[in-house]
């Protein structure tokens, strides 16, 4: 079974980043936003149509698309 990803969180659920996948520029950008392994992430909001997702990372907020969030693996 594949590990759970950020895209599978429900609102107000949290997880700890274990791995960030994807192509280099893509994963670099996600990590630079603070999604480095070991970071606690909470899903705060889901747009009414189901995408994008608003995350809380280190007290700050950022929204990314569900498809992009699926590259971030979590540990619940």
């Amino acid at each position: 079974m594949s590990p759970p990803t950020l895209a599978e969180l429900r609102p107000e659920q949290s997880g700890t980043v274990t791995r960030v996948g994807g192509e280099r520029a893509f994963r670099r950008r996600l990590m630079e936003l603070g999604l480095v392994p070991g970071t606690r992430v909470t899903l705060r909001k889901v747009a009414p149509l189901g995408d994008p997702l608003e995350l809380e990372v280190r007290g700050g907020r950022i929204s990314i698309r569900r498809r992009d969030a699926a590259s971030v693996e979590l540990e619940r």
Partner: protein, 736 residues
């Protein structure tokens, strides 16, 4: 943009930190907008005075540069490279005397990531801790003194939106400029591992000219780290020396072979530093009170109310562009018509007067007529951006827009396209990424703009019976159908172009929902006036030149046998009647002569020349002349057809005379030129072809070159031709 010798200060920071608001606050009305060389990213530079104090040792004035917002200095393209270039004075920029990092205190850790990168460069740096007001609302405390101790540089808490702390910021900048202090240990707040440090030294050895004289080893390492994080086998960076590139690729290969992940090492190390020290300078309440902004969001992002509010706001924008701008547009048109009339009355009849009236005055009028919509649209965009609603609109609509590869923010430009493509193309600036902007620009001209309406009205009114279908008026249905058709084609074009011509590497979309706040009138006025200025000086000149060229094409050469023959009948016409009848007969003759002139002009000949190309679409050469005239603006098709058919230029789309003339028009074999099938083919052609000099001028301005406007012209014309061709050929085969 050259500025006199004053100290230079760059403002860098994440997107949405209020950096531009701060820039506006500091420079007042003195900021100027230009472009970074070679790329279509706006460069804002402005002078500002720093203190009214008597401290003569401190700098009293400086020049600020507002560097485009970025989450990191690591870059993949020339566009992302701007920040590092501006900080180090590489390429065309001058090395700044001070870097002010604008930090959003409500997203502190993420903003500090960029701050650490800036510090590593070992240049004089200062941190402006912005959004302190929003921070208080959220119940969070940030200790500026502790943060300053942690970073080793001054930290000044401010609120750019509420103009708080700006004097302290000015004073701190003045002090830093007077006696620059470098951050301790050359700005490095974290120590790279031995392995990473060895890698950095290996790359730094190949910096060559990229390492200016006097650069410390640690600053060289910072540049090496930038290269290590940025260079790729397929990046689009500019001016990276070949030796440096090779060194980076070597180190990356060796690291991969050793099972190391250099990107993760550096990024994790920076965040580890931030996480370790955060408790010293930031205190967050265990249970944050819900800010009022959050409560507003529960409604504005509600699955039902959210969309109701969204539609209401967008309808208002649309209504403003479509209806509110009308009186101003009418006024401008009337003023230029009056100016033209006055000029004609006072100048001798002749070619020079025609040029002044029709070419120049008409041309300037055709530029200014865009201003009301541009001013209105940017007023709305400014308010929507400043309040934070635009980010919500993008959050709401992203899912839908993303289906065809467009950014959530492309919604407003597309909607504006229903009024006019010119302001809509200018509105693509609200998107950060080049690909998103270009893709939107390419498809906006397919939206049914208001200039197509008169053309549709003429064609539908003249060629389609006013019957009913299922109890609904067919003409109205056809009009509605054309709107839907344009919209659908724009979405299809976006999906196709986004997967082909504008296909790029996948980068995560990043949106931020900033807290709601009141718009700042000064910034708003500046946004609107700078947009209007840019339009007039850059797009306007191209539009004016285009109008004059089109006027010349449709005017020269003046004489021909046909014209001379018609002129020869003038005495006869004069003698044959008198009074009102004579005036009418002479007017009819003048219209005939104007028609003959146009038919024999260069434009008329071009119409003949392109006939073989447009014949398979069901068009004859006279329609070809109309299509050519329509390039000035689509609605000009109507008056051009009026002239071609000798009815006069003063016709409008409701003119029965013109409609009758069109219906009476016959082909060589005696069949009527205009049938409903010709009409349909013509409608599709107008829906899809980029018949608009102004649109092309706007794209040229926004993409800083002719490549994309020419591409737009080519693909839209090809699309129009193919669709009209299929329509006419299939329709003819079916016997329509």
């Amino acid at each position: 943009m050259t500025l006199p010798e004053v100290p230079r200060v760059v403002l860098v920071g994440n997107p949405n930190t209020g950096k531009t608001t701060l820039f506006n606050r500091l420079t007042g009305a003195r900021g100027r907008v230009g472009n970074y060389p070679g790329i279509t990213v706006e460069r804002s530079v402005g002078r500002a005075s720093l203190s009214a104090s008597a401290d003569t040792a401190a700098a009293s004035e400086c020049a600020f540069e507002d560097v485009p917002g970025c989450y990191s200095l690591a870059s993949r393209s020339a566009e992302e490279q701007i920040a590092i270039d501006a900080l180090l004075g590489r390429h065309d920029s001058v090395r700044p005397d001070l870097a002010v990092v604008v930090v959003d205190a409500t997203n502190l850790e993420r903003n500090l990531y960029l701050t650490l990168q800036v510090l590593e460069l070992g240049r004089p740096t200062l941190v402006a801790l912005n959004q302190m007001d929003a921070l208080r609302d959220a119940g969070v405390e940030v200790d500026a003194a502790a943060l300053s101790a942690c970073l080793g540089v001054p930290v000044v808490p401010i609120s750019a939106a509420r103009a708080e702390g700006l004097d302290a910021l000015r004073a701190a900048i003045a002090t830093q400029l007077a006696s620059p202090t470098l951050p301790p240990s050359d700005g490095w707040r974290w120590a790279p591992s031995d392995a990473l440090r060895a890698d950095l030294d290996a790359v730094a050895a190949h910096l060559g000219d990229e390492r200016p004289e006097g650069t410390s080893d640690s600053a060289a390492r910072a540049l090496a780290l930038w290269a290590l994080m940025s260079v790729d086998a397929d990046d689009e960076l500019e001016d990276v020396p070949a030796a440096l590139r090779l060194a980076v690729l070597d180190v990356q290969r060796a690291a991969r072979a050793a099972g190391r992940d250099l990107d993760a090492e550096a990024i994790t190390a920076r965040y580890a530093f931030i996480d370790r020290h955060a408790p010293a300078f930031v205190r967050r309440p265990a249970e944050a009170p819900k800010a009022w902004s959050e409560r507003v969001d529960t409604w504005l992002l509600h699955p039902v109310f959210g969309f109701v509010a969204f539609l209401a706001i967008m309808f208002t924008v649309f209504q403003a562009l479509f209806a509110w701008s009308d009186p101003a547009i009418g006024l401008i048109e009337a003023a230029f018509a009056a100016a033209g009339g006055a000029a004609r009355a006072h100048l001798p009849e002749g070619l020079a007067t025609d040029f002044i009236v029709d070419g120049l005055i008409g041309g300037v009028g055709s530029v200014l007529v865009f201003l009301p919509q541009i001013v209105l649209l940017f007023t709305f965009i400014g308010v929507l951006e400043d309040t934070g609603y635009m980010a919500r609109a993008a959050f709401l609509m992203d899912r839908v827009m993303n289906k065809v590869g467009l950014h959530g923010r492309a919604f407003v430009p597309l909607l504006s396209g229903y009024a006019c493509a010119v302001p809509a193309i200018m509105a693509t600036r609200t998107m950060e990424r080049r690909r998103d902007r270009y893709l939107t620009m390419m498809v906006v001209p397919l939206m049914t703009c208001s200039a197509r309406l008169p053309v549709y009205t003429l064609i539908i009114g003249a060629l389609f019976p006013a019957g009913a279908w299922l109890g609904l008026p067919t003409q109205g249905l056809l009009m509605l159908g054309m709107y839907l058709f344009g919209t659908l084609m724009a979405l299809v074009a976006a999906a196709v172009l986004g997967r082909t011509v504008l296909k790029g590497p996948r980068v995560p979309l990043i949106l931020e929902l900033p807290p709601f706040r009141r718009p700042h009138l000064g910034s708003l006025a500046r946004l609107v006036s700078s947009r209007a200025r840019v339009f007039l000086s850059e797009a306007g000149t191209v539009i004016l030149a285009g109008s004059v060229v089109l006027w010349a094409i449709l005017t020269f050469p003046r004489g021909s046998e046909e014209v001379t023959a018609l002129e020869a009948t003038r005495p006869q016409v004069e003698a044959s009647s008198e009074g009102e009848a004579q005036t009418e007969a002479l007017a009819a003759l003048d219209a005939e002569i104007a028609g003959a002139r146009l038919r024999n002009s260069l434009g008329g000949r071009i119409g003949h020349a392109i006939e073989p190309v447009i014949e398979p679409l069901g068009f004859d050469w006279k329609i070809g002349v109309g299509l050519l005239g329509a390039f000035a603006a689509r609605e000009v098709f109507v008056s051009t057809m009026g002239v071609v058919y000798g009815v006069g230029a003063d016709v409008d789309e409701e003119s029965t005379t013109l409609r009758e003339r069109m219906k009476a028009e016959r082909r060589a074999d005696g069949r009527p030129v205009y049938t409903p099938l010709t009409g349909l083919s013509l409608l599709f052609f107008f829906a899809l072809a980029c018949q608009c000099v102004s649109t092309l001028a706007a794209i040229k301005r926004e993409t800083a070159g002719w490549r994309w406007p020419l591409f737009t012209l080519a693909y839209m014309t090809a699309l129009a031709w193919v669709v009209s061709f299929v329509t006419w050929q299939v329709g003819s085969a079916l016997g329509a």
